[in-house]
Symmetry: C2
């Protein structure tokens, strides 16, 4: 039999396990032009929360009682498509199914010997690409500047900080436990770390860690953490709005300090950013990330949860900050 | 005698007349290299409110018991400087004094026959330049797009809207009276006008006036008016944060809906903007504005208050929206 995970109900506020259906179907067979794929690694990401709502968004919402999909690494178990051989590994946006068919469109072959398979969902996948393009294209980070990263121990954040160090910047990370802060400094080379759960006055903590002001703020969280950073932007600073996980489960419009006076006074920009808009830069990004990885300049962390049936729980754990680095489910 | 207006106290919240000193001093005499200037027209602008506070800002705060300064058109009444002759007209940032000396630095001669003298404080001065650079450099306005302007009947706003029409855009103006809305449409050629004082549901009104979404929002006000526009941004929209008059008199940190989820979802940018950072574009701006003015493509409004002693009241009236177009005091 073939296990499938579907969206059962649209979450109101924080998602729960009851928002998911666990189904079983027949294992399919490849027809001409198709490949049969066996799911090996599944990426769970905060942005999926947005697709569970039917609010107007930049991606289609998931349909109720249909499989959820995300970035997946899969093995080709049988092929009737000339581009693929049995035993190939690929990555693509695929359904949360143990086995599924594909016509090969938007499927990218990966080299299982270049890096661990799961890296293709992280540092050499969308998360690494997001960090690279967000920091270079949107943030326009320059040597010697001060870079602050929220969600710093997360998949994107930890790469952002390391690229900052490669570029010779003063890098400050914000995360939610002393263990994560220790990891930022010892493993990823951040200069400073702030545990926001132990910090009431975020503004003062950021000021202390960023004495010259913040030139680039790479934001994965929004909310009160960002309020503290906004108070410390340098003139002509750039805010890369990559994520807002602190707000994703809000059931009412979240409010906070208005940003306009700060933006004008400091001539700061905020720029909402979705990596999919920058496909023309993907090749450059993967090439550069692979080079740095090969040179030993980039470290990465994964939290790997085992078992297909644990995909929804792994997704829920993202909102509790239980992951260090990329959250991945090994099937 | 020579009348002078000084800052008496730093306003808390809305400024009042009691924040100003009215003094009299001796009329000065020009020494070698100096010119004696007689003030003819004085520009009063919302940004002066910021300089009355001693909070950290992009310009020096005014000093207590010292004259306030702003953009002024003056006549050279005597000259001991080779660059200037008696009878010349000039514009510069000068003190609120009837007569004052200058060494000629940062003083620009103007042609009294090219346009009315007061236009050099408005459409051919900083307000016109602000509109031009904000819309073209920061807003990157393109033909056929939808442009929304707040403070649309104000000095900057009315020029912004007209440039939008010259560039073939759908232009929506927001202002605070039916009379102003009528003016936007009949005199300045705006396509749509919204009287925010009569509109509870700003978001719905903007949606109705901007059926394709808002590509560029040129914001002079912030606050609840902007909240309504933000709900209607088009994908890849650009917000030019030029002013925030609705917040300038706030005594506590004003709060409102958080913008980050919208910025990300729509990939919108917000960019704080101060015209003084773009001096390299001033010549281009004045040239283009002068050309459009000469071709009859640009109209402008002034509210001219008479009398040197009425400068402070004219400034206070800005916060009540009593001006239509540029607020100017004729001495």
């Amino acid at each position: 039999m073939n296990k499938v995970i579907e969206l059962r109900s649209r979450p109101v506020g924080e998602p729960t396990l009851s928002d998911f259906n666990f189904e079983e179907t027949e294992k399919p067979t490849a027809s001409d032009g198709e490949i049969l794929l066996k799911t090996e690694y599944v990426s769970v990401d905060p942005y999926l929360r947005g697709r569970m709502s039917d609010a107007d968004s930049y991606v289609e919402p998931f349909e109720l009682d249909k499989p959820i999909s995300s970035a997946i690494v899969a093995k080709v178990v049988s092929s009737k498509n000339k581009r693929f051989d049995e035993g190939d590994y690929i990555t693509a946006e695929l359904d949360w199914k143990e086995y599924q068919l594909s016509d090969g469109k938007n499927v990218r072959k990966i080299d299982p010997n270049a890096a661990p398979l799961s890296a293709n969902l992280g540092i050499l996948g969308m998360t690494g690409i997001t960090a690279y393009i967000g920091l270079t294209e949107i943030g326009q980070l320059k040597e010697g500047e001060t870079l602050v990263v929220s969600g710093a121990a997360g998949a994107v954040g930890s790469v952002v900080g390391q690229i900052g160090k490669i570029k010779g910047c003063h890098v400050v990370g914000i995360a939610g436990s002393d263990e994560k802060i220790e990891l930022l400094k010892s493993k990823f080379g951040f200069d400073e770390g702030i545990n926001y759960k132990k910090t009431e006055a975020m503004g003062e903590a950021i000021a202390q860690a960023s004495p010259d002001g913040v030139d680039v703020y790479f934001d994965n969280v929004a909310g009160r953490i960002s309020d503290g950073v906004y108070q410390n932007m340098a003139d002509f600073g750039r805010i890369v709005n990559c994520g807002a996980i602190a707000l994703y489960n809000a059931t009412e419009m979240p409010t906070g300090p208005r940003v306009e006076p700060m933006l004008i006074k400091k001539r700061v920009s905020m720029q909402g950013f979705i990596v999919g808009d920058h496909q023309d830069k993907f090749t450059e990004a993967v090439k550069q990330l692979g080079k740095w990885l090969g040179e030993g300049q980039l470290e990465y962390s994964e939290t790997v949860v085992e078992g297909f049936e644990n995909i929804p729980q792994a997704f829920l754990d993202l909102f509790e900050g239980k992951n260090k680095g990329k959250m991945i489910v090994k099937v």
